[in-house]
Amino acid sequence: MENFRKVKTSEEESPLPFSDLPSDVVEMKVKEGSKIRNLMGFAMSKMGLEATRQIVFSGCGRAVTKTVTCVEIMKRKLGGLHQVTKVQYKTLLEVWENKDLQPDGHREHLTVHKNVPSICILLSKDPLDPNQMGYQPPDHPEDLWVDETDTLEERSGSFPKGVKRRLASPPHEEEEEQHAKKPPLQVQDHQEDLGTMAGC
């Protein structure tokens, strides 16, 4: 692939994985470079309206963490929100172009289908079906982390020590995203279809 460069990436449009959504539901499409400040400014003003009952955050690939962070911030700020989380693969279509011209003056193009993990989170002011997969009731702080009381006691001796001073209320961080040592996009070889040649 050294001689190729990416010229275009497009997402395959897929409907939201939630049923019974109003057609005018606010959908926040979180991208890798989106600023949380901008996203939350828009989303909070929308949710501030009484008429807005639901909001959807979606993101794929490297934007997944940011998407979850936005949802967590909104839940903390507003409270009483019902949540449904869905994960799925999203197909990205990448077009790669050969840097070298072919003898006939054309450039060789490659079309690559990539499956990247994506997340869609629905936050609702109104109750949702609690039996569907991925439902989280409101104000349920850390259900999966604290219900194991027996394991807690086992580990109580190894709690981190030296936590003496606390600084002011911590911001919700989005660190490491930019400083990833490894390419964080996790696509398996067998997920990629590199063979689709489209000679243009």
Binding site: G61, R62, V64, T65, V68, T69, V71, E72, R76, Q83, T85, K86, V87, Q88, Y89, P117, S118, I119, I121, M133, G134, Y135, Q136, P141, E142, D143, L144, W145, V146, D147, E148, T151, L152, E154, R155, F159, P160, G162, V163, K164, R165, R166, L167, P170, P171, H172, E173, E175, E176, E177, A180, K182, P184, L185, Q186, Q188
Partner: protein, 132 residues
Amino acid sequence: MAEAGPPTEAERALRRRLPRRLPRRRSDVYVNMKTDFKAQLSRCQKLLAPGAGGGGGCAELCIHGLGLAINRAINIALQLEATGGGALRLAAHTSTVELADAAEPEGDSDEPQARTRNNSAIHIRVCRAAPH
């Protein structure tokens, strides 16, 4: 030579601590970005494989991912679902985890300075679909 003052922020070594309160059942899998992806995936597959021998036989798994590893946790869960032939269901939950960093001075002169910050986490329950 002037006497050295208290260490400045730059002279402290930042230690990141592990998150508190980790439930550690056999069916809890903590995904990280250091271990090979395939190794973590096959570990989950082994745990879900039927039969009590050989480390398998878990009725359901709970895959946890923190921060950057959210992506990988989702990827592992989706791979399990795809290879499970429709027999598995995923239920994802999100949460905020409070992390404590400690800035320790190079010498042992000063007490460590602690700082808490939040990070996002995901917890994906992988369970067998109820037989219809």
